[in-house]
């Protein structure tokens, strides 16, 4: 899929909500860290929500950078690697207590594992399986509506 701006945002939100939620629900109980499971789930889902919300700003940046490419494309490797700066910024925000709903940041290992699992699953879904139910999606720059 070669995205347009609205398509980037819609695809990100949709895939985080569907694929991201399933992965988060499955992985949270086995992530390192203490405390009641309910609290850990709450933190994990707030982190997931933050990836989506901050993502809108990131997508604006990616869209701008894409304008410098002649083909106006976004190679799939970029989609994978942009996870690194996104994770770093989100982690700094969590540490600084700047993410509403999370008072203390989760253990770094728990964060990294959750982020990596969600990111990879969303990236894989966007690079193929997404086209199966949504036949028109790839021809519309990732827009679902």
């Amino acid at each position: 899929m070669v995205p347009v701006l609205l398509g980037r945002i819609q695809t990100r939100i949709f895939l985080l909500a569907v694929v991201g939620s399933v992965i988060t629900a499955l992985i949270t109980p086995v992530l390192p860290g203490g405390g009641p499971l309910a609290d850990r789930y709450r933190t994990a889902f707030v982190v997931l929500g933050a990836v989506a919300v901050l993502g809108v700003a990131w997508e604006l940046l990616y869209h701008l950078l894409m304008q410098f490419r002649w083909e106006k494309d976004w190679p799939s490797l970029f989609g994978l690697l942009t996870g690194v700066p996104e994770a770093v910024v989100l982690w700094l925000l969590l540490r600084a207590g700047a993410v509403p709903g999370v008072e203390t940041a989760p253990p770094v290992a728990a964060f990294v594992l959750q982020f990596a699992a969600v990111w990879t699953a969303v990236w894989l879904a966007a690079n193929g399986p997404m086209r199966v139910p949504f036949l028109r999606w790839r021809f519309r720059g990732g827009r679902l509506t």
């Binding site: 899929m1 894409m66 002649w70 083909e71 490797l77 193929g128 086209r131 199966v132 036949l135 790839r138």
Partner: protein
Amino acid sequence: MDAGDLTPELLGAAVWDDAMVAAAGIPVHDVPFVTVGGGMGSFVTADYLRIAGVPASDIRVLSNIDHPWQTYQYLTRVSQIPEPERIRSDSSSRPDNIWGFPSYALSEAWRDRTLRPLVHILGEPIFADYWTPQAGTVFASLRRESARIGYDAMLVKGVVRMVRRRAAGGYFTVLTPPAGSSATKRVVYRSRFVHLAVGYPGLRFLPDLQEFRTRHSDYEHVVNAYEPHEHVYEFLKTKPGTVLIRGGGIVSSRVLQRLIDDRERLGLQTQIVHVFRTFVTGAHGPHWWARRKGGDGFAYQGFNYPKSVWGGQLKARMRRLEGQERAKQYAEMGGTNTPKRRRWQKQLRQGRQGGWYRAMQGVAQKVWPDTDGTLVSLINGDNGTVEVRADYIIDCTGLEADIAEHRVLADLLEHGGAGRNPLGRLEVERHFEVKGTASGDGALYASGATTLGGYFPGVDTFLGLQIAAQEITDDLARRGFGRRIGPIRSTTQWVRWALGRPV
């Protein structure tokens, strides 16, 4: 005149009624949907409709070929893409699979039990050239899908002569069946919908080369890359010779590869002179932030248009442009180009170093044979006028003839209400209906090279033909023919595809 042939009355009337056709004694077959051509464009459209729930009995493919990939296979073979070679379009351009998933790379990885293709696509186009499937793989996949959708049962052999509007709505498509296969010279298909996918209207030669061929009746030494020219490579195996290549598109890259492969493999002494009308020396483009790579004469681009033409920003943008603005955008991002493949770069670098590959800018004024038989081309270019001698000239410019050279299209322009777009080809709507040809509750669509210049530039590619097929299928569903493929149908049909079950 025989019964069952076109009458002067029919030929002269833009709109026919049932009685006129009956009076001419031409047998009539009724079917809701007819697609003319039977090449890749007809195939992907029939595939879409079958998946949208249209029974095979409601579709007829009128064609002069037996398999949808036949013309494509012929053109790729003569233009030096044998079956093991990789084609131009990428991994998810899958004419046998409307979803593009699994991509060809994923299928190849599965088939050969290797991660190599997947690692390759992960690095493309930055660390590796675009991964593209082997021609043979594409044919095999098409054969499978063709059997799955019951293509052969929809195919009717013959040459289509014309499509005319029907007074009560819909169209009459006149077919000339193969000699001896029918009681009458013509048969007519009466349908509510017609789709035209007739491919290239014809080949055109560069004017100086055309003149040479006719004047000297020499069809051997001046050849077009799209016609069989194996004898050139055979000659070079027997005797060192010089080949002049005209044109800087992907076909020239293929021919160069063949010449240089033979040189390397068989230790030949072939000399190559390459003439570009537009000699690209570096990155070029309208703005400093929109520049296409180029160099050594070539403009480099992975596919014939920038990738986002098939689904991203440029697709969305082009959809909004009309007239001259659209034509300008076409000129900026199209033109002659070829992919910057590492292997080709290496071969040409060696050729330049060894002095056996020379590239120059110029336009040939005239070609004539010298007394010893060598061809002399008078070339006017940046470095003045020079004479270039060669044993063979291969025209790789791939000029396409005007659409009016195709009989069915000429008839449509004259009688059917069709018009031309800013690039001179058939003007189609965003949903690929040919503008001006509506007939009652019927509709006439076109896809492929004949529609280049419309709201969607990537028409002459597998993916473009599929995009057109999707638009057409959706438009037909709006008109009550077939179903719109929603997420559930799409998924269940995909499962059937994956299991190899009939639609």
